[in-house]
Every structure is written in structure tokens, then in C-alpha cells.
């Protein structure tokens, strides 16, 4: 009897130990891949980053995970404050021990957080922030430290090329006097300086306005008085919608082209009460319902299903592609170890087809290139113009759906 019990107990113990071993071993292998996401949830841009990353992680898991492992997203809100961004990043790196960090719509937060991620030798996928500092400057100056940074958001030296297309088209049509109205913010200082220099013999009036300004009566009147027929208007701030309405109401006889975040909204036609005919801005095509790649439209519809509205801010698209591009790199490398993934992502045959475009490869400052945008061009960005309730793409050539026009009422006044 005693012997029986003893052998019974030992067998149970052996079984238990065995089970424990197997359980431990399988949990090891089955431990999820962690993607840390940090952005400012109180703002449309930051919320876009969160949503794009969420959708990417969901899609990865729906396709069976990454390298056979489940993908887990850890999301932190940084309230657009650098100190929160720093502690959130450190938490992701040293407490949650994530494998990669994706995020930052706000450029100043990206600047602060990037060195932390680099120090930990983890990859940082930028989705949203466009400051040249984090790629153009830092990767060039110190490749060894900063090689772990990749971005799907072209830096401002490139995006301003897209914004310039409206001016270029207008000049082609014979308009010649530019009023340059640019908001006062750090991101567009290079743009302002560059255009002031490039178009110096065509600019008749220039002004910087605050990002919270909603009344442009003075600026517009001045522009009109000086005979401007091109209104190069650049804003990410409060003045997006009021400026268009005011331009129309005041009948400023100039083409309104540049960058206007509000004008990216698919409902902008109704919002401005149809005053936006002829307004040109740039947008990430993939989230604008334009079939940049076969994945664009399905993504567009999935987003609406998931969140009840079509994508408005561009950040969700680039964040989605940032996560997916990294996943692609991981698949190519066969591991999540940073150095191997960096090598994989630097391959000239990277060829990842995203929502915003095809990434043929990442260039030497880890900006994406391909699919209609060459090197030195703002990957993913299309220049579009509002024409008769639709957003018509007029640049780049590959995705063009129509020509740039001068709205009728402006034509009448300028005679062009």
C-alpha cells in the first residue's frame, strides 16, 4: 500500500514537473511580440497614430501573428508633453520591454524620445512626425547610434515639394503674383525661408500668422491690394476652415493653394458650405480613399467600420505602414533582434506594399522611396484640389485623376 502511494505520488510529481516544463517552454516560444506605441491622444494627429497602429496589430494577428507569435500592442498617451513622452518611452523600454517603438506625431516629442530608444538599441518607427532633425540630421551625423530609426513620414524638406505643386501649376497657367501666408510654427520655417528665396521676384506680400488665428481679413486685404493672384496658404492650425470661407466671402481673386489640414477632411465641401472650389492641399493618398495601392481602399473601409468615421488625419495611414513595414523587416530577418532587422530594412529589395504606397526601399536617411515617388520626393503624399465636391489628385503623375484648375470666379476677376 505504502509503496503504491509513494510511486503514485512520484508519478504525479513527475507529471507535474513535466507539465510545468512544457508549459514554461511553450510560453517562452509563445511569448508575444510587443510593439510600444506612444502618441498624444488628445489631438487628432496623435489619435491617428494610435488607431493606425491598433489596426496594424489587429491585422497582423488576424494573419496568424508575426514569426508565429502573437503581437501585442502597448499604448501610452503622452499628452503632447515631452516629460510624459520621456517617461512613457522609458516605461516601454525598461518596464514593458517592448521589441520596437512606434509613434510620435509631435516632432518635439520625437526629438526628445529618439535618443532614448537609440540608447536602448531598439528600433523606432516614426509615424507622423516630420521634422528633419530625427532623420536628415541625426542619421547623417551619427549613423551608428541612429541607424535604428526608420520613418514612413517624409521629412518637411520633402513634403514641402508636394505643397509647392499648387504654386507650380498656377505659375504654369500664367498667374504670377504670389502672396505667401505661412503659419508661425517651427516645422514650416524651412519652407518659408526656402520659398521666400526661390520665388523672391514673384512674391508681392508675405506674412506669418499664429496657429490659433481665425481671422485673416487684414492679411487677405493686403494680398488683394498688392494684386496677388496666387495665395500660397500653409497652415496646420485653427485657421484652415475660416481662411477658406473668408477667402471666398471676401472674393480674394487668387488661387488658394498650399497646405491646409482642414481641407483634407472628406467632408470639407459641406463644412465650408461649398466655398472650397479650387482649394488645393496635399494629403496622404492612401487614407484619402484613393487607390494608391490595392490595400488602400480596403483599409479606408476597415477604418470606417472600426471607428465610425473615415480617416481624417494622415497619421493613421503612416502609422499603420510603419508597424507593417517593421513587421515585414522582421519577417525578412527571421528575428526581432534590432541589428538584424535594421539590415533587413535597409535592403534595396525591401519591397513592402503598404496602405500609403509601395516602399521599394528606405534611403540612406531611412525615408521611404518608391511606387510613384522617387528619391527626394514626399513618399505617400498626393497634391489634390477640390473640384465640384470631389478631391481631384493632380500630382504625382502616377496617381493623377484630373488637371489643376482655376476656379471660375477667380478666373473672372483675374481674367485668366
Amino acid at each position: 500500500m505504502r509503496k503504491g502511494i509513494r510511486s503514485g505520488v512520484s508519478s504525479v510529481m513527475i507529471i507535474l514537473v513535466g507539465v510545468a516544463f512544457i508549459w514554461a517552454a511553450s510560453s517562452e516560444a509563445a511569448s508575444p511580440i510587443k510593439i510600444g506605441v506612444n502618441s498624444a491622444w488628445d489631438f487628432p494627429g496623435g489619435q491617428g497614430v494610435k488607431r493606425g497602429a491598433e489596426m496594424a496589430i489587429k491585422d497582423l494577428n488576424a494573419a496568424g501573428g508575426l514569426l508565429g507569435r502573437k503581437v501585442e500592442g502597448i499604448f501610452y498617451d503622452n499628452k503632447a508633453a515631452s516629460i510624459e513622452a520621456k517617461s512613457a518611452t522609458e516605461r516601454l523600454l525598461y518596464k514593458d520591454k517592448v521589441d520596437v517603438i512606434c509613434g510620435f506625431w509631435r516632432s518635439d516629442l520625437a526629438i526628445v524620445a529618439q535618443p532614448l530608444v537609440m540608447e536602448a538599441k531598439k528600433i523606432l518607427m516614426i509615424g507622423g512626425a516630420s521634422t528633419p532633425v530625427i532623420t536628415y540630421e541625426r542619421i547623417k551625423q551619427d549613423y551608428k547610434t541612429y541607424k535604428y530609426t526608420f520613418t514612413t513620414t517624409s521629412n518637411t524638406y520633402l513634403t514641402m515639394i508636394g505643397m509647392e505643386q499648387g504654386i507650380i501649376e498656377s505659375l504654369k497657367k500664367g498667374l504670377s503674383k504670389i502672396a505667401l501666408l505661412v503659419e508661425k510654427a517651427a516645422w514650416c520655417d524651412p519652407l518659408y525661408d526656402s520659398w521666400m528665396e526661390k520665388y523672391k521676384d514673384k512674391i508681392v506680400y508675405s506674412a506669418r500668422f499664429s496657429v490659433t488665428a481665425t481671422d485673416f481679413s487684414v492679411e487677405f486685404s493686403q494680398a488683394k491690394a498688392k494684386g496677388a493672384d496666387i495665395l500660397a496658404f500653409i497652415t496646420t492650425g485653427r485657421g484652415g476652415t475660416p481662411s477658406v470661407k473668408q477667402w471666398y466671402d471676401m472674393k480674394i481673386p487668387a488661387v488658394y493653394a498650399g497646405y491646409n489640414v482642414d481641407a483634407q477632411d472628406p467632408n470639407f465641401w459641406q463644412i465650408t458650405e461649398e466655398k472650397t472650389q479650387g482649394v488645393a492641399t496635399t494629403k496622404i493618398g492612401g487614407v484619402a480613399g484613393i487607390a494608391i495601392t490595392p490595400k488602400s481602399i480596403p483599409y479606408y473601409n476597415e477604418y470606417k467600420k472600426a471607428y465610425g468615421e473615415f480617416p481624417i488625419a494622415y497619421t493613421n495611414g503612416v502609422a499603420y505602414d510603419a508597424v507593417m513595414a517593421w513587421a515585414h523587416g522582421v519577417k525578412l530577418a527571421g528575428t526581432v533582434k534590432s541589428d538584424a532587422v535594421v539590415k533587413a530594412m535597409e535592403r534595396k529589395d525591401f519591397n513592402y506594399e503598404g496602405v500609403c504606397g509601395l516602399i521599394e526601399y528606405f534611403d540612406e536617411i531611412h525615408n521611404p522611396v518608391g511606387g510613384g515617388w522617387g528619391k527626394g520626393e514626399p513618399w505617400g503624399w498626393v497634391a489634390q484640389q477640390w473640384q465640384n465636391e470631389k478631391q481631384v489628385v493632380y500630382w504625382p503623375k502616377k496617381y493623377k485623376t484630373g488637371d489643376f484648375i482655376i476656379p471660375d470666379w477667380v478666373k473672372k476677376v483675374t481674367g485668366k
Partner: protein
């Protein structure tokens, strides 16, 4: 150029007037600096948005609901919170209303979301005056603003209740001797302030853009105009103060730089607080 500044100056005078008057009234009558006033106006904007854009009600009923909701919000804040601290030191009220403002702002961000919201104009089309084109919505705002101020002035001067409120403003103890119940008068003032805030929200929403940040910005405007006009002064002092701020901004944009436009309001506020804390028309101690 001059005409542009002149005409748009009137538009912004009217809008600033609308934003400030509810705040100013409460400050004048009950000496309460309701730092949540800007947020209340913002709530009115959002409520209008919810009904008109999100729920697709037609404009008329939405406006009425918007105003009623704003008045209710004001009443809740008064009865539930401010009233209980009327006898506490001043700083408590400041902290309380600032805290409430933040609560409101956070609730809005969490429920409606951070994206900019749009409210359609009540009247479409535009009119040209003196070769300056204004949208009809802006003209409507001007008319409503001046009418409201006029009505308020009449109410305070000519009606019995208005006179009672003015008595309470001067000295609530003496008023009590005449049988005027200060509590009741405060309540009436709150309702009027709520109405004014509601109307301000409705008129401002189509012209501004509606985001969670405008709450504090409107608070700064309301405060600047009120301080400039002065505590205890006549109602039309608000119009003058609003005009000064509006024109200072436009002139700064024209003569100095558009970027510094909003700085003009700050400068006015600081100068007033430092050199003439009573404001232009104020009476009483600072």
C-alpha cells in the same frame, strides 16, 4: 484697407462682446470670477454641433436645446458648486472654477473626441458693405450682440427685477433691508449669464472652429474685456472694451505683424491689471 479694419472690427467687437458679457455680468453682480465661463460657451458650441451635425436635427430646435442645455449647465455649476463656496476665500473659488473648467474640457475630449468639429452657418450668403464683404452669419452675430446688450441694459435699468439686481450689486445688505432676496437675484443672474453664454456659443461656433482648446482662449478674451471695462461699470462699457481689444488686434496685425495679433490682447490685459486695475469704467476697490 481702413474699411476692412473698420468693418471687421465691428464683427469682432460683437463676438468678443458676446463672449464676455455673461462672465462680466456674474462678476459684477456676485463678484464671482467664473473661470469656467469659456468652457461653458465651448460646451454650447459642442452641444449645437451634436444636435445639428451628429444627430441631424434641424437648426431651430437645436438652437433652443443648446441654449436650454447651457443654462442648465450654468445652474448646475452654480447650485452644486459655486454657491457653496461664496463665503470662502476668493482663491477657493478661482481654484474651484478652474478645476471645473478642466473637468468640462476633459469630458468633452473623452466623449466627443479631439477632432475639430464644424457647425454650419445659420444664414448663408454674404453682403457687401463699404466694399467689404461679410458673411451673413457674421452680420447676424453683430445684430444679435448689440440687441442682447441693449436688452440687458434695458432690463437692468427699467425692470423691477433688473433694479433689484443692481441693488444687490451695490450692497446686498442694504438691498436685503428693502426686502430683496440676494439669493434669488443671484439665481436670476446665473440664468441670464447662462443664456448669454449659450447664445455666444451658438453664434461663435460657425465662425470659429470648434475644438477643445477654444474654451481657455475664450476665457482669456472674456477676462480681458471684463477687466478692461471694469467691475461695477455700466453695461455698455463692455462694448467699448470689446471694441478696444478687437481693433487693437486688427491694427497690430496690419501695422506690426499678423503673428503678434493675439499678443495685443495680452498686452492690454497686463497693462490694465498693472496700471488701472479698476478698468475704464469700474467703481469700487481693487
Amino acid at each position: 484697407m481702413i474699411e476692412t479694419i473698420f468693418i471687421f472690427g465691428i464683427v469682432w467687437t460683437a463676438l468678443y462682446c458676446l463672449i464676455a458679457i455673461g462672465f462680466s455680468l456674474l462678476f459684477g453682480v456676485a463678484q464671482v470670477l467664473n473661470l469656467a465661463h469659456g468652457m461653458i460657451i465651448m460646451s454650447a458650441c459642442y452641444i449645437t454641433f451634436l444636435f445639428v451635425t451628429a444627430l441631424n436635427w434641424s437648426l431651430g430646435p437645436s438652437l433652443i436645446v443648446g441654449i436650454i442645455a447651457t443654462v442648465c449647465l450654468m445652474l448646475i455649476i452654480w447650485l452644486g458648486f459655486i454657491k457653496r463656496l461664496l463665503t470662502a476665500p476668493v482663491t477657493s473659488l478661482l481654484l474651484l472654477t478652474a478645476g471645473l473648467a478642466n473637468v468640462i474640457q476633459q469630458i468633452v475630449i473623452l466623449t466627443v473626441g479631439p477632432h475639430t468639429k464644424y457647425v454650419p452657418s445659420m444664414i448663408t450668403g454674404s453682403t457687401t458693405i463699404l466694399s467689404v464683404t461679410l458673411s451673413n452669419q457674421q452680420i447676424l452675430s453683430i445684430i444679435v450682440a448689440f440687441v442682447l446688450v441693449g436688452l440687458l441694459a434695458l432690463f437692468l435699468q427699467r425692470t423691477r427685477m433688473g433694479r433689484a439686481i443692481r441693488a444687490v450689486t451695490q450692497d446686498r445688505n442694504v438691498a436685503a433691508l428693502s426686502g430683496i432676496n440676494a439669493e434669488e437675484m443671484y439665481l436670476v443672474t446665473i440664468i441670464i449669464a447662462g443664456l448669454l453664454a449659450g447664445v455666444a456659443g451658438l453664434l461663435v461656433a460657425p465662425i470659429q472652429t470648434v475644438t477643445p482648446e477654444i474654451g481657455w482662449e475664450m476665457m482669456v478674451t472674456a477676462f480681458t474685456v471684463t477687466i478692461l471695462a471694469g467691475l461695477g461699470g455700466p453695461i455698455w462699457g463692455i462694448i467699448v472694451a470689446a471694441a478696444i481689444v478687437a481693433y487693437a488686434e486688427l491694427i497690430t496685425a496690419f501695422l506690426v505683424a499678423p503673428m503678434l495679433k493675439e499678443g495685443a490682447a495680452f498686452v492690454i490685459m497686463i497693462l490694465t491689471l498693472m496700471f488701472r486695475p479698476l478698468g475704464l469704467f469700474g467703481k469700487g476697490r481693487v
